[in-house]
Amino acid sequence: MSDIHVDVVVVGAGPAGVAAGIGAREAGAGRVLVIERDWDLGGILQQCIHPGFGLHTFKEELTGPEYMHRWVRWAHDAGVEFMTNTMVFGAYPDGSLDVMNPDRGVFRVSAGATLLAMGCRERPLGAVNIPGTRPAGIYTAGTAQRFVNMEGYMPGERAVIMGSGDIGLIMARRMIWEGAKVEAVFEIMPWAGGLRRNIAQCLDDYGIPFFLQHSVARVHGRDRLEGVTAVKVDDDRRPLPGSERFIPCDTLLLAVGLIPENELSRMAGAQIHPVTGGPVINELYQTTCPSIFAAGNVVIVYDLADWVSQEGMAAGRNAALYATGRLQAPVRRIEIAGGANVRLFSPHYITGGTDATIYFRVNRPIEGRCRVFASHGLYERRERYARPGEMNEVRLKKDALAALPDGATRIVVDVEEA
């Protein structure tokens, strides 16, 4: 099968990838190809049929499909090419890709620049290893969402949800709206994972019991799930003996975390960040393979699609500049580090040659006035609160970075009580 060469190739047509395609075209790339494994465009937002997207981008509250519809139309208008039902199964340090689809068979795509926008996957049952049997009826919340909203089938009729991230909360409500019962939502931490608004409109609205510092200790049922044993946990997340309670149910939905899809990043030889699980990038969205860029959830898990699109667009622009030889080579390398209250952040180092926004999540909720800052006096902002469920940021100015002494090779990003 004949190979394809383009200026910029993007892997994934979700919010990051579609925006990246637009960014690349607008920055002057000739042929921009976005490859998508599903038969339609939109990525995970195809199945996120609830409103809550586009508030920042379009000043409207749209559902996931509506949000992506606008971006895809924009991409078509900008001359971005798409290839659906196409899987990338190999990636190389020079950014070239092994690709396949039923029409063309197996073929290679090479490009001036490659942009990884595969998003993330859900942590499965095996990652939390609940002891017990292995019956049918245990799903990650996203897989259940696909069944309900796209395949048109219900995973079950009586559900328990483990994890209070937004996807778990949204699915609690969705199940209710299709007539299922939701017995409880269990969150192992002492704070909720998702947005306050979702606690209100997905749980409180329907009287769904919500338990912090609780977990599922055992799964019961040989063929089909018959129930779970719920248990209270202490501050070290260890089960408290005597707190076990059996809850009959036929469905267990897991919302226990997201991990960047990093097979291709790894295959290509890009350095993977040990905490995020995604590729190490600089503020130009460049991985440690110079012609490979990455943006969106594949780098770090965002809270709002609006930021993902924004990042994707900027990354696409840089990829195009690189492909056309116009991306400035990095002069400096300043590491970004998280302070006492920050572990997840992106980018991981900066060149100092441009403005840079560092996105991060705080480790634990700080309810009350706090200080969001970067070291060396580079940034400071007061906030009313900081929560792990909401992405935060510091903005670094190019002039201030240029003024840093040569010996300053590390910027610390942190939040502390004020």
Binding site: R121, T133, M154
Partner: protein
């Protein structure tokens, strides 16, 4: 209404023993049926085990299992090619700490040599850590067994059974033995009754794992008792598959071979098992205590292992007989009943050798009721479904050019194509678990999160059933409860 069926031999149990035996027997012109109550094979101990082909130093010289283990090891090497079974010739180490363990290792060395195991030697800490840098520095000596190997246990059972079926053997799944049929004087076997009708046959072979004492009891043989022993395991992500290069054992204790750390044939990492005696023959669930024991044992051997590396856990029951050895015999009465029972470790390794021994036994004792005429159409080889992921790109391209369904990826984590899944269904897979066993779709790090809905859709399409009738592993394990709007119609009906 089930029809009566007529066979020469009925094998009860399609585990590694039953399927290896079925293949061995299919070289003769006999009408053979294998029955198994599970919906997909392998089930039972053949499904949930360490997948190790033991070298053979572990068994007491002179026992049947010692002889058959070493022979089985040799036979797997011969058969892996023709039967297309993935075999990793990685060798094994039994790791010891201090002089007490060294003495145990020396015992195993002597035992192994007596059993005819080639290449055994005891090495010191330096040599071990050079070969296995991630093993704890506490290890002072190790018994190296170069003939220890790792097999894909699913492929092994499927390969034997597949080849047996190609050579005329009939497999009946979801078919459970309910009673034996005997002649009026109870001196001869005449068949077996099952939940799916009667199988008339003069020979019934008991290869039923944890139920084998109950089945023997149907023939009036109460000479042994099976105790189920639970073993729990973790499978760790492929990213850690090279943490160790060979099969690693801690020094054996009274309870058994101890927690092991080993690569799987697909280069995941497997740790386990525990050895928990229990009453129930059915309960193969995992427990918090068991999993903790596995993790602690694994970390004692390889300290860098952590629970966050896990992608799934599982548990299986081994059939331990209260006799010290395998129970392989042909009963005097009823004539025609053969036991192949209590096949605990090194049962999986010994299976091909067990099969040969049983055939010899049958020729010796049962040639008055069945005749051993060679099957002239016997084909000794078979191919597994192409393992797309491991093929070089040119091979992938060639397959895809011939059949576009090879260019349609269904399982992203293990690079499994639609063509493979359709072929698995053609070869008998009817459940999501069976598809996973044949193709590895859903066995990767996302554990079916992405491919799940697609596998369900393909099964529904190929089997001609609605998606909400597709099951996870047969029985009542339906994955979906109904269509998304059904509730509103049920509600309206009230």
């Amino acid at each position: 209404m089930h029809k009566d069926r007529y066979y020469d031999v009925v094998i009860v149990g399609a585990g590694i023993v039953g399927s290896a035996l079925a293949r061995e027997l299919s070289a003769w012109s006999l009408r053979i049926a294998v029955i198994d109550r599970a919906s997909d094979i392998p089930s039972g101990a053949s499904r949930a085990n360490s997948a190790m082909i033991h070298a053979g130093y572990d068994d007491e010289p002179g026992t049947v299992k010692a002889a058959l283990c070493a022979e089985g090891n040799r036979l797997y090497r011969e058969l892996a090619g023709p039967l297309d079974i993935t075999l990793l010739n990685c060798g094994s180490y039994v790791c010891g700490v201090g002089d007490g363990d060294l003495a145990k290792l020396e015992l195993l060395l002597d035992q192994g040599r007596e059993n005819g195991v080639p290449g055994l030697e005891i090495i010191g800490a330096d040599e071990l850590h050079a070969a296995e840098p991630n093993v704890t520095p506490d290890v002072t000596h190790a018994l190296r067994a170069p003939t220890g190997a790792i097999i894909n246990n699913f492929e092994a059972v499927l390969a034997f059974m597949d080849n047996a079926q190609q050579n005329g053997v009939d497999l009946f799944l979801e078919t459970e033995l309910t009673s034996l049929l005997l002649s009026d004087d109870r001196g001869a076997v005449t068949g077996a009754t099952t939940n799916r009708g009667v199988f008339f046959a003069p020979v019934v072979i008991n290869a039923s794992g944890t139920s084998s004492d109950l089945v023997a009891g149907m023939a009036g043989d109460h000479s042994f008792r099976i105790s189920p022993i639970r073993g729990e395991y973790y499978i760790l992500d492929k990213n850690y598959g090279h943490t160790v290069n060979s099969f690693l054992f801690s020094c054996p204790t009274d309870r058994g071979k101890g927690v092991t750390v080993a690569p799987t044939a697909e280069r995941n990492l497997l740790i386990g098992p525990t050895s928990q005696l229990q009453e129930s023959r059915e309960d193969a669930s995992t427990t918090a205590e068991g999993l903790a024991e596995v993790m602690d044992g694994a970390r004692a051997l390889v300290p860098s292992i952590t629970p966050s590396m896990a992608i799934t856990t599982f548990s299986g029951l081994r059939a331990s007989a209260d006799t010290k050895d395998f129970v392989i015999n042909a009963l005097d009465s009823p004539h025609g009943f053969v036991n192949v029972a209590g096949i605990k470790s090194p049962g999986f390794t010994a299976a091909p050798a067990i099969a040969r021994r049983v055939v010899d036994l049958m020729k010796d004792r049962l040639s008055d009721i069945i005749t051993f005429v060679p099957n002239r159409k016997f084909v000794p080889e078979r191919r597994h479904i192409p393992r797309f992921e491991s093929l070089p790109v040119e091979e992938k391209a060639r397959l895809a050019a011939a059949d576009p369904r090879y260019a349609q990826i269904v399982c992203r984590c293990e690079t499994v194509t639609e063509a493979q899944i359709v072929e698995a269904i053609r070869r008998g897979a009817r459940t999501v678990a069976a598809v996973k066993i044949w193709t590895r779709a859903g066995a990767g790090r996302c554990q079916g999160g992405f491919c799940g809905p697609r596998v369900v859709a393909i099964l529904a399409r190929e089997l001609g059933i609605p998606p909400d009738e597709v099951t996870r592993h047969g029985g009542h394990s339906r994955l979906l409860s109904g269509r998304t709007k059904d509730y509103w119609f049920r509600e309206a009906g009230r």
